[in-house]
Amino acid sequence: MRARSVDRQALTRWLGIAALAAATAWMTFDARGFERLLRVLAPGETSWLYPTKPLTTLMAEQIWLAAAASALATAAGFALGALALTRFGIAFRDLVLSAGSLAQTVPTVALMALLVPLTGYGPEPVIIALTLYGILPIALNVISGIESVPPDVRDAATGIGMRRWQRVIRVELPLAWPVIVGGIKNVVVINVSAATLGAVVAAGGLGMPILAGFHDYNDAYILQGALPSIALALLADRLLTVRPRWERG
């Protein structure tokens, strides 16, 4: 009974992921088919596909922007969070937490725009801005994840004779993992969303047809950028929504 409902949860999750992945892939690769859909949704237009770049390129740019920034932020955030948990770094723990909430007051797109004078237009300001923006949330989740490990469990791990690294690898990280992945998910979702705004600083991505659509009052261009980016964001969200084995049932 219990096992079956767990299986059902897992099944619906994977069905959702498969459907979103299929939708994203279809819109990206089947330009003809997607155009037919856009013709139905925006019958009044005379042009349905954004002419400057094909959707495959735009999608590739979008994924590149989000993935590069997410990977860099995760690596740096992990390092910062781990550092703040060491005997030396613990002094900076509260500072990291405070700065993390402070950084949320700066709009992502503003950070991109402010970097343009330093980096020029293109993907660089987007990747740098999103990386900077993502580091603190990841560090925050690494810290709170590791700190949420019950002290008894930590004590038992040391008490039965685990070395420090064994305790971290076998007990603390697995237990902190859901919280850490939750942080990574937030950052990835923000990055997929913010990457559409990369169009503002000429970084490419799915925001370009949307902005072009606003500019030309073309519904089809807007939807051509909006629908795949929404599918991609939902896909990332679903993929990174995980519940560990030991918490189920």
Partner: protein, 394 residues
């Protein structure tokens, strides 16, 4: 004093020292200020050493004293007061002298020239944040600590108000856009107010629904999560055809200014994002109440309304306020998008600045946004603290 407090005070020493070191590095950085012949020129950097003359030594002296104080055996209170004052003084001095330098540069290089605050200055501000954060940890929470924490902001505000900075790029942009600035600032606040008001009403209702009818919880939060995940620009894009057609069919709406772009999609999108944190915290607040407390309230003879008013709400309010705070900060930052889709607001300056590579114009939008968000954040967390006095240790 407990052992943990003592070790916290010890740890703050290292943080304060690193703040001071960062401050000295910033003072030596090659890009202290940025000089431009015209407002959209790429510009050349000048270090704070070159720009500030003798005052540079005063700033470095501030940092050295902070580092010395941090290592000293002085009692906590005087050590905390002196170190926070000096740390806060450094960026204010730098800002003031940047203004003086800008005035001199303007008379030399002409009216079109611009002096902007560069990475070196912003790093000085960051160093001050680190050092003040550490130094105020040596003080008891209270009025003095608050005054020392926010003093530097007051100092910067006084410099702006007193006209000492009017030759800096950002204030020249302000002077050029004074009328528009007031209007866009008000508009930005209007977007935030309207969206958060709608978000609050919906969030309270949905949070209450999910708490009282647990069966509805997955549907409510599933839907809100999807909304939360939608990319802003794509969300507005999705609304565009819908709102365009709505306004074509319903002249009433059109006369209110509802169009595919403009205020309508902005408020809808921001309100949709604001619902989630408020609903989540309302739900959490109501479901995490200790049943024994409710039981006791009923047991001593309170009517259901009294239980809600005297027990449930006072216990839940701080948690709901925390959700409101997240929503406010997020919306204040998010409302920048209005500038991109014809809605105005402070984002207008940011996107205009981005297209011209005029960083001072961008800052004219960004600085007030950050200031607003910080004000909301600090203000509401102050209220939360005041409402949770009962949580403080005896």
């Amino acid at each position: 004093m407990s052992r943990t407090e003592a070790s916290l005070h010890e740890r703050a020493r290292a943080v304060a020292v690193s703040g001071a070191v960062l401050g000295i590095v910033a003072a030596l950085a090659p890009f202290g200020l940025v000089l431009r012949q015209t407002r959209i020129d790429r510009g050349a950097g000048v270090s704070l050493v070159d720009a500030l003359g003798a005052w540079w030594w005063a700033i470095v002296a501030c940092w050295l004293l902070v580092a010395l104080l941090a290592r000293s055996r002085l009692p906590l209170r005087p050590r905390g007061v002196a170190a926070s004052l000096l740390s806060g003084l450094a960026p204010v001095l730098a800002l003031w002298q940047a203004g003086v330098f800008a005035a001199a540069y303007a008379t030399k290089a002409g009216d079109l020239s611009r002096v902007s605050l560069g990475p070196g200055f912003w790093l000085t501000a960051a160093a001050a944040y680190v050092a003040v954060f550490a130094a105020t940890a040596w003080l008891e929470p209270g009025l003095l600590r608050a005054a020392l924490s926010y003093g530097p902001f007051a100092g910067a505000g006084a410099l702006v108000a007193g006209g000492a900075l009017s030759d800096l790029g950002i204030l020249k942009e302000y002077a050029n856009n004074a009328d528009a600035f007031g209007k866009q600032f008000a508009l930005h606040l209007g977007y935030v107010g309207a969206s958060v008001a709608v978000g609050l009403a919906l969030g309270l209702a949905l949070g209450l629904l999910a708490a009282r009818r647990p069966a509805s919880e997955p549907a409510v939060f599933g839907a809100l999560n999807v909304l939360q995940v939608l990319p802003t620009l794509a969300f507005i894009g999705l609304l565009y055809p819908v709102l365009t057609r709505l306004s074509e069919r319903a002249p009433v709406l059109a006369s209110l200014g509802v169009r595919g772009v403009g205020w309508a999609p902005v408020v809808i999108v921001l309100a949709a994002y604001a619902v989630y944190p408020i609903a989540r915290n309302t739900h959490a607040a109501l479901t995490s109440l200790d049943p024994a407390v409710i039981d006791a309230a009923r047991g001593i003879g309170m009517a259901p309304v009294q239980v809600l008013a005297r027990v449930e709400l006072p216990l839940a309010t701080p948690v709901i306020l925390a959700g409101l705070r997240v929503a406010l900060v997020q919306t204040t930052a998010g409302a920048i998008i209005a500038g991109l889709v014809g809605g105005g607001g402070l984002g207008t300056f940011v996107f205009l600045g981005a297209s011209e590579t005029a960083s001072d114009l961008m800052l004219l939008g960004v600085v007030p946004i950050v200031a607003l968000a910080l004000t909301f954040d600090r203000g509401l967390s102050g209220i939360e603290t005041a409402l949770t006095r009962w949580k403080e240790p005896a």
